[in-house]
Amino acid sequence: MKAYDRGSSLFWLLLSAYACIESLRMGIGTPRKPGMGFMTFGAAGILGIFSLILFAKASFEKEGDKVVSVFSGILWKRVLFVLIVIICYAKFMPDLGYLISTSLLMFLLFLILKGTRWWWALGSSLLTTFLTYYIFSIGLNCQFPRGVFGF
């Protein structure tokens, strides 16, 4: 965890540096007349200080005997797959339309686990898609995209 703390604290330090520079560009004003960037400069500055404290804490405290990666022993491929699927869904939903894109999304999400039969996943995805379409589009007047196929 110490290595991750060092890495993450550097990330927050960079973010705070960026926010400070942007705040100065926007104008921090004076305490008498605070500008646009006054509070963000303060928040970013304190974040920078705390990032340095965290970095120092992670660097000088003794690590335990066994350092285990937070990503070891987990099904990270499953997580990555789901992320890719939902990003693609967001990208292509306006073009394919709600019905087609959601059916595909749900089919892939139901299928992701071992032992799930394809016909069960297909049936469940279609049922879920049409049910949600009915509830949200017709019942709650949500305007889902129709896509190039017109539905």
Partner: protein, 503 residues
């Protein structure tokens, strides 16, 4: 209008069929969310935020509040029958509730949890009526310095209470302040941190942010583990009415839990979770046989379950009387009001009596509905518990996607949600907490306004925050909490509190 007139007004409002329906939907959803591990009331309220756009503010707050206190009821079912807390305020119920189930006393455990929740919930609603209005009147004398200090204190208390590192929690609060500042400046109207993206001119949406941090991130964290079937304790659930002996053992615990929960709920950063832990610790301390706690003591169920429900009523008070959301969940309710163009604050109860008293009346009704849902109909929830996560997680993802899209009919919101989903996932892997971020995100713009106004009043002097008594006291309390992580002997006490949570 007199007190009784207001109550009658409230019941007139809640008897509107739409409001009744939303009350039922809220408590049912809350119970469902509480029963099912994987999404808590915070994530559920985030998911339902877009749906509130199409309803009135009254119906919306009735529904969302119903989800919040409904989840407290539902969480006890999973804790007692499966030894997995359905939501974080039911963690301590696992300690004795599950042990009671193992001894064949699942029925009395569920019954006392439900009855305790009902009594405490009812008492906290009375407290809300009695304390909320006078506090709102007192808050009219609060100025920008008091508001700024209260909000700072609230953020520090939330950071103090997280399970992980307080340093990291404060960092997340600061990140939340930065994210909350995205959009157009309050005074000049110029864009801040929008990167030239037009959709960010209105700021980063609370809905996609919350759904990403608490919905998508939660699903991703669960997905990385192998799914094992939830082992629901196989026992006949009978004797859903507690015996005289059970009542005798529990009644004082219910009373104490109600008081603890209500007053802790009022504190910024308090809420149901803190209330349940403090109540358990109090019951153990006061018990003649503290060594029996953890083996199936009914007080260990009655106290915390009462406290977490009483905490929900208490936490509504700062929101309505001061306009300050005390917890991340209240922050989402606060956002719902802003979406409808309503500003919670000291004038809220006077300006919108229909909404306030309608909500109060709906909570009476909601608590009654929950008693019926959680006792005679507990069998339904036992079946729901057996739904595999492989079916649940695609549905949660789908509801998040629909929710994010339906806010503005824009896929930009979906991408924002996915981004915060990834951020939330990585935050959990690296030990950073989401609640301080989301609370600071909502409070940020109000804090900035209060800070700038304070400095204008004081002509640039920061001494205004210490020369005004309420502001000074609040900042001293916040300062002491911060220092407590530095002084070793206070640190040891905090570690003891954390150990109690981990046990």
């Amino acid at each position: 209008m007199g007190f009784l007139d207001n109550i009658i007004l409230g019941f007139q409002v809640v008897m509107d069929p739409i409001n009744l329906l939303f009350c039922f939907i809220g408590v049912l959803t809350g119970t469902l969310v509480g029963v099912l591990p994987g999404i808590g009331p915070l994530g559920a309220i985030a998911l339902l935020l877009p749906a509130t756009l199409r309803s009135t503010p009254t119906a919306s707050i009735i529904m969302l509040a119903g989800v919040y206190y409904g989840a407290m009821y539902g969480g006890s079912t999973t804790s007692i029958l499966v030894n997995i807390p359905g939501e974080s305020a039911s963690v301590v119920t696992c300690l004795d509730g599950y042990q009671m189930a193992r001894k064949g006393r699942a029925g009395p455990a569920l019954a006392i949890a439900a009855w305790g929740s009902f009594i405490a919930g009812t008492l906290s609603i009375i407290g809300l009526m009695l304390v909320g209005v006078p506090l709102a009147n007192a808050a009219l004398s609060f100025g920008p310095p008091e508001y700024f200090s209260l909000m700072c204190a609230g953020l520090i208390v939330v950071a103090f209470l997280v399970q992980g590192s307080m340093l990291k929690a404060i960092m997340m609060a600061l990140v939340g302040l930065l994210i909350g500042s995205v959009g157009l400046d309050l005074v000049t109207g110029l864009p801040k941190f929008t990167f030239g993206i037009d959709e960010l001119a209105d700021g980063v949406g609370i809905g996609p942010t919350a759904m990403g941090l608490f919905g998508i991130a939660e699903v991703l964290v669960n997905l990385e583990q192998r799914f094992e079937g939830r082992e629901v304790f196989k026992t006949k659930i009978d004797r859903l009415w507690p015996s005289l002996k059970d009542w005798k053992a529990s009644i004082w615990a219910i009373g104490r839990g109600s008081a603890i929960g209500f007053f802790l709920g009022i504190l910024p950063g308090g809420g149901a979770v803190l209330a349940s832990f403090v109540s358990y610790a109090a019951e153990k301390k006061l018990s003649k046989h503290p060594e029996r706690f953890g083996t199936g003591e009914i007080e260990g169920v009655a106290g915390p379950e009462s406290a977490n429900n009483a905490g929900t009523g208490g936490s509504l008070i700062p929101l309505f009387s001061l306009g300050i959301p005390a917890t991340p969940t209240m922050a989402l309710l606060f956002s719902m009001f802003l979406i409808h163009g309503i500003q919670p604050g000291p004038l809220f109860i006077k300006t919108y009596p229909n909404i306030f008293w309608g909500l109060v009346a709906s909570m009476y009704l909601g608590n009654l509905l929950l008693l019926i849902l959680n006792l005679p109909l507990v069998g339904i929830w036992v079946k729901v518990l057996k739904i595999p996560y492989r079916i649940l997680f695609p549905l949660i993802i789908l509801f998040c996607l629909i929710g994010a899209y339906s806010l503005n009919n824009s896929t930009v919101d979906i991408f924002v949600m996915i981004l915060f989903g990834i951020v939330g996932y990585l935050m959990r892997k690296f030990g950073y907490e989401g609640p301080p971020l989301i609370l600071a995100f909502v409070l940020g713009p109000i804090m900035e306004q209060a800070l700038r106004q304070s400095l204008l009043i004081s002509k640039g002097s920061f001494m205004i925050f210490v020369t005004r008594p309420i502001s000074a006291i609040t900042l001293i309390i916040a300062g002491l909490l911060l220092l407590s992580t530095v002084f070793p002997y206070m640190k040891k006490r905090r570690i003891k509190y954390k150990d109690l949570k981990e046990d």
